[in-house]
Symmetry: C2
DNA sequence: CGCGCGATTGAGTAATTTCAAATCTAGTGG
DNA sequence: CCACTAGATTTGAAATTACTCAATCGCGCG
């Protein structure tokens, strides 16, 4: 399916735009393709844009002082990603985003999003719902991280994204769950 | 300060409403006061409303099978709280909300919020930003939970809400940080 | 074939939990 | 004013869990 059509259907789920409105909206998006392993945002960068994933898989991650990686999000098709904190607050990036596989995206600048939200009420409605979904998902993950043991979180993740299992290396799954790769390995090999 | 004025200033920080628009918006809010210890939402309840805190302190928490409590949010003045997952998805509450101190709130139903967002573009803008703030805070906490040790998270929490220190019992702080009260006690008594 | 990356396994260590008991504190009634 | 009580906090000790570090295994690719 064509990029434009994917975005159209994605937005249509929460907001009704006329053909003309959608064309106008779409004209602000810029297609960007990336190769496996390519970096999209690095810590310290100025962040101007957010990315809507059309195909492939990105990861948004944080590297701490001891060079340990924590994955905040696997960005799969129809998900949005960026360093939203840096984007909205106009500060330098504190997280990194790169490509687990080849990927196609549509990107939108912070200024254009705000402009479009201001000009078109249905667009603002869409972005409210998008953010809301992210918020609810984040709250759910927070609760899961505190309440569930690693095994349960592992099953939860695979239930949410079955395709991850043979798409990403296990040590990235561990970095998402917040445990060492050894612990994860022992978990699903014990029975 | 009067309830109406608190809400007005809170909203004015991100959206410009005319006096008339604000009066219309405000007419949908209902003042509700609670006593210390009173329950606002219980697991299993039907959730129809969200709450804007004017004074006092609420807690939103989850109780697991082993009767362990995890605190998702301390709701302080000018914060919003509810079981947002249940509210937006029209499902039964999975978390509880009650009062740590006497508290005054303004409450708004899910239907009214959606109606107001639909009728008034600036109101939708406001709620997009409110949700966005919540999302960014949630992401930050997630990262902190994975990356920082308990001591650092404790300091972070007190930096964010200095008033919590002598407002809420320590075991609630522990339930927010995701550690046992014993561990927290040992932490800040060691030197 | 051999390199390199990812995954697994083992052993010892560090941190946190649980359970139990002791201590402290604020508020209540006599 | 004092004794009493409930809730909150602290402390001790054993058990659990995950971590780190190191070594090994497995497999795809040049």
């Amino acid at each position: 399916m064509e990029a434009k059509e994917i975005l159209r259907q994605h937005i249509a789920r929460t907001a009704s735009l006329t053909d003309e409105q959608f064309e106008y909206l779409f004209s602000h998006f810029k297609p960007l393709s990336f190769k496996k392993g390519q970096t999209i945002i690095s810590e310290g960068d100025k962040v101007e844009t957010e990315y809507f994933v059309l195909s492939g898989c990105l990861k948004a991650f944080f590297i701490n002082d001891e060079a340990k990686m924590y994955i905040l999000q696997f960005a799969m098709p129809t998900w949005w990603t960026s360093d939203f904190n840096a984007l909205y607050n106009q500060t330098k990036a504190t997280i990194n985003i790169d490509c687990i596989t080849d990927a196609e995206t549509l990107c939108l600048t912070n200024n254009d999003r705000e402009k479009l939200c201001n000009e078109l009420h249905p667009v603002e409605h869409f972005f409210r719902w998008r953010t809301n979904r992210g918020y609810l998902a984040s709250q759910k993950r927070l609760l899961s991280l505190m309440n569930n043991d690693t095994k349960k979180r592992y099953e939860e993740l695979l239930a949410l994204y079955p395709e991850l299992y043979n798409l990403v290396p296990k040590h990235l799954i561990a970095a998402y769950l917040g445990v060492s790769r050894e612990t994860l390995s022992r978990l699903y090999n014990a029975h």
